[in-house]
């Protein structure tokens, strides 16, 4: 099981974590990966200035748009399916 964790703390919220969550929710559904990828939220990850912050498994990514999220999802999830 892969896990995408999106920070929903105050700063990341302002930087669009709400849109990121909606994007990942749809992306997981569209790719029919509900049983392989879990989407979670977390409060502050102590990297507020770099947000919005997400984790894919244990790796941190800093995203500033849904387009970046799409690229990361392609590269880290879709291309790494077993």
């Amino acid at each position: 099981m892969r896990v995408i964790t999106v920070c929903v703390g105050s700063a990341c919220h302002l930087k669009g974590s709400h849109d990121l969550i909606n994007y990942f929710k749809d992306a997981i559904k569209d790719a029919k990966l509900e049983n392989k990828v879990e989407l979670k939220g977390t409060f502050c990850m102590d990297m507020c200035t770099d947000g919005a912050n997400i984790l894919i498994d244990d790796e941190v990514f800093h995203l500033s748009s849904v387009d970046e999220a799409r690229a990361i999802f392609e590269r880290e999830i879709l291309q790494k399916l077993d």
């Binding site: 974590s17 969550i21 979670k40 502050c44 102590d46």
Partner: protein, 385 residues
Amino acid sequence: MTTPLYIEAGEAHISKYGEILCGDSLVVSSFDGGRLMVLSDGLGSGVKANVLATLTTKIATRLMERGLPLEEVVETLTDTLPVCQVRKIAYSTFTLLKVLDDGSAYLAEFDNPPTFFLKRGYVSQVTYKDRIIGTRKIREARLHVEAGDWLVTVSDGEIHAGIGGLLNLGWDWEKIAKFLETQVHEDISAKQVAQILVDQANELYQSKPGDDTTAGVLKIRPKRFAVFMIGPPVNPQNDDLVVKHFIEFPGRKVISGGTTAAIVAKRLKREVSVDLSTMTSKIPPVGKLEGVDLVTEGVHTVNRTLEILQDSPDIGELRKRRDGASQLAREFLYADSITIFLGQAINPAHLNPNLPQEMGFKSRSVQAIVSLLKEMGKEVALEIY
């Protein structure tokens, strides 16, 4: 230790058909250690009745608050009230009800319907003593109340509802007593019971009330405590102390702020999880932490909660909404006694010039919430760390 009592008050009125002003007056006031409710029915209806009734309740409330004996209250009323030109008497009825937090209660009535005293869901008999003060016969009683008890006082418009119309002799004290027994329960508010009583009377009057009708309700229940921890302490050395106070505090526990939640979670050796289903575009989702009743995000949620509270919300409406700000507002509204630990550590990320200025306004919003809650009559203690 037994839980302290809280005396919740609610009232509702309807005016006689065709009148704009209600000739009944009801005043509820709080003083240190208890509550006072005074009901008066002025002679006649409209402006004159309203003036007489209002004078009566205001004078009685002021004097009772100062602890004056009943004789002086009654004498002052008789001496002060203007004489009615038609009836040549200075007259208005009254019910004085004083309930202390320790459960002792004092009741004095003059020409008003007897107060309903409900114990464990049933109307119980009040033992009155008659007392003559001047030319007036006053009924007096001392009661002991406990959580679950209700005291309901009504003007005669309530007792006479439907007279000569739907009901030959009006609604009648005994029938209202039976009705009350079917209405009161733990989850209904004093305000709701008062409203139900006058609505029912209005129906019996077929929406054309023959008299001013008023219900005043006191609900005796355990006091509700809540403690809020908002923001991490400026000095991290205080973290342990504040968290310890927070955890040991009686009542509901609420945390606002992701970093604050993390500080508490660390000491509890538990994890905060996030419930994404409560997320909205404006308010980040709420979190879950075992041992804490509610965890929300900080600044956005608190700012939105202030807006909700400024809108004089209905707690029933808020129950239908799951977002963090509605839930936080609900916790503030539900509690009678509120302690807030406000940590003023500044999140460096929030000083980022690219972020809107409102990010720095959390403390100010909390202060505004405190003032609002105090206006609502709640006890609020704000501790700043």
